[in-house]
Assembly symmetry: C2
Homo-oligomer: 344 residues x 2
């Protein structure tokens, strides 16, 4: 028997529970509207380390450790860590995994990583292959800038469509059973979609078509529409990408209702901070998930949301070689709160 509905969507029979989550965020993120909801706000983006890269890894480790602490679980009981980041060779996650000692399955999905880790983590937990499992993603403004764009010291000017990489990391502990903040009922992995965007300062436009493709496939499979969810939440489309997603969905005859859609990329920074089209990075959707989305599901304010992290698949090498920028988006259906746990 395949636990699937339609072509794209995986149904998790046990509806794995997110037992706990944690978010660590940088100083600029701490000044934003979610500042009070993070488990730790760094006073220094170096986090006491000797490089930004080490700080990024340490943040991911800290988010995992705080998540385990909140769940009352020891790292030695966790059967798999699924995670990634934006550094070349996902070294932030790899070195965090070294420190944690948990069997590690490294993922790279650019900014879609948090949803990718939840999809695979839910499959491992629901199938009884590994539980509990830890799902994590993080990014750091300073490592991303110098790797993808320019050294910070160069002080380059940003275009209006540019987004600001979140300094932050989020982690969720999943288990097959147990009372949790929310449960994962189904998910869909996305296809790699490329409509020919080549502007490396416009990630939102590059990712929006993949987001629309995944949502369309998910709604068709599940015979649902955006109105069936308290929120349809994208990862980091930013202002440009969010507008394009609205347009693409409307054109497909599945418009996103006013007030029924939000983008994590427009939820992190203080609007007075100069971040142009919004926030981005693996850490963006990961910290908003932990600080905003899961708490609202636990409290019952939201009953059912779609969490869709989106990734722009590019490297400086592919851009220099003239490649356009494809996107990918994975969607996770989260249901809450504790009330309906164990009800399938």
């Amino acid at each position: 028997m395949l636990h699937r509905t339609g072509d794209a969507t995986i149904v998790f029979e046990s509806r794995p529970a997110i037992l706990a989550s944690a978010a660590v965020a940088g100083p600029k993120e701490g000044r934003g509207p979610l500042g009070g909801q993070f488990d730790l706000v760094l006073s220094d983006p170096m986090f006491g380390q000797s490089s930004f890269e080490q700080a990024e890894s340490r943040m991911l480790q800290e988010a995992c450790e705080r998540c385990l602490q909140k769940a009352g679980a020891g790292a030695d009981k966790v059967q798999a860590l699924l995670g990634g980041d934006l550094e070349n060779q996902i070294m932030a996650a790899s070195l965090a995994a070294r420190a944690l000692g948990i069997p590690f399955l490294g993922l790279y999905g650019a900014c879609s990583t948090m949803a990718e880790s939840l999809l695979l983590g839910a499959a491992l937990a629901d199938g009884g292959f590994a539980a509990p499992v830890l799902c994590a993603a993080g990014s750091h403004y300073a490592t991303a800038e110098r790797q993808y764009r320019f050294p910070l010291e160069y002080g380059n000017q940003r275009t209006p469509a540019a987004q600001w990489t979140v300094t932050g990391a989020g982690a969720c502990l999943l288990d097959r059973e147990g009372k949790g903040m929310a449960r994962i009922s189904c998910a869909a992995a996305g296809r790699v979609i490329d409509l020919g965007i080549s502007d490396v300062n416009n990630m939102g436009a590059a990712m929006a078509p993949a987001a629309a493709d995944t949502l369309r496939r998910f709604f068709a499979d599940t015979h649902t529409s955006p109105g069936d969810y308290d929120r349809v939440i994208s990862g980091d489309l930013g202002r440009v990408g969010a507008e394009l997603l609205h347009e693409l969905m409307a054109r497909s005859g599945v418009p996103l209702p006013d007030g029924g859609y939000m983008d994590c990329g427009l939820s992190v920074f203080d609007p007075r901070d100069d971040v142009h089209a919004g926030a981005s990075g693996c850490g963006c959707s990961a910290i908003v998930l932990s600080a905003l989305i899961l708490p609202k599901l636990r409290s019952g304010e939201w009953k059912k949301v779609l969490f869709m992290a989106t990734g722009a698949l590019l490297s400086p090498t592919t851009s220099q070689q003239g490649e356009t920028i494809p996107g990918v988006a994975h969607v996770i259906c989260l249901e809450g709160g504790e009330d309906d746990a164990h009800v399938s």
Copy 2:
């Protein structure tokens, strides 16, 4: 119920079948002992593309397409592609996924990627979440050299412990049912282990401790020993790493028997080619799996083997920042041939 035995090992109840596999290899690999067994040997490492990176991506796509063709399956029927490579941001796999149009879950496990993809692919298939699934990994000598070491034009001298990145890609199509080349009965994900190796030209030494850790945990969980398998096969430890693995396993009281162990890194190149400690790269274990291991399982020459791909987790950035090099190794238990299909 957890489909697990012991702490580390996942048991796949349906024993997912590898329906077909394919391998594409470069010219130097084609001159090696497995040259006649690859599905395609490139006459030109550029594969008709305008950059080595594009060639690497095209190879991965070609391996996937040939695998699907051999299985008589259309790409539109495949529910997930799990794969990766060594390029920054795994762009070779991402662009191959764009061409294939299959929902894509990107992995980064350095040279352990082929085993990581089989572990997660088997879980998706066995759990009924996605099937068939395509698992793939690839690497390219020229892209790896210029990314991790020096531009080829520099003509640097290689140390005796250095390994030569395989130009090649392999793919396997997994399904829950069906007659296959082999079946996946169980697997274990590895921990990230670091014994302090910092020589970026000695990947074998960096990976051997992780390989030993994974094997020890797997044997303890399954109450088996190396003698219970026709071969214990490592991914790309090379001459230095293979010797160290022998030593570490002997010290643990679980010695690898003579003739019962092989390393894919010592199976690819003609010994007269000047490759020092052997072959490496994601593509190494991927093409040996397809060209040597799976055919021997299908024919019945081997009944049961452990396929353990190993990865060295480093980037030029972490090395320049003084990090040592941790390793990771995932092990997959493969059983053949067609005779015992459907017997659980």
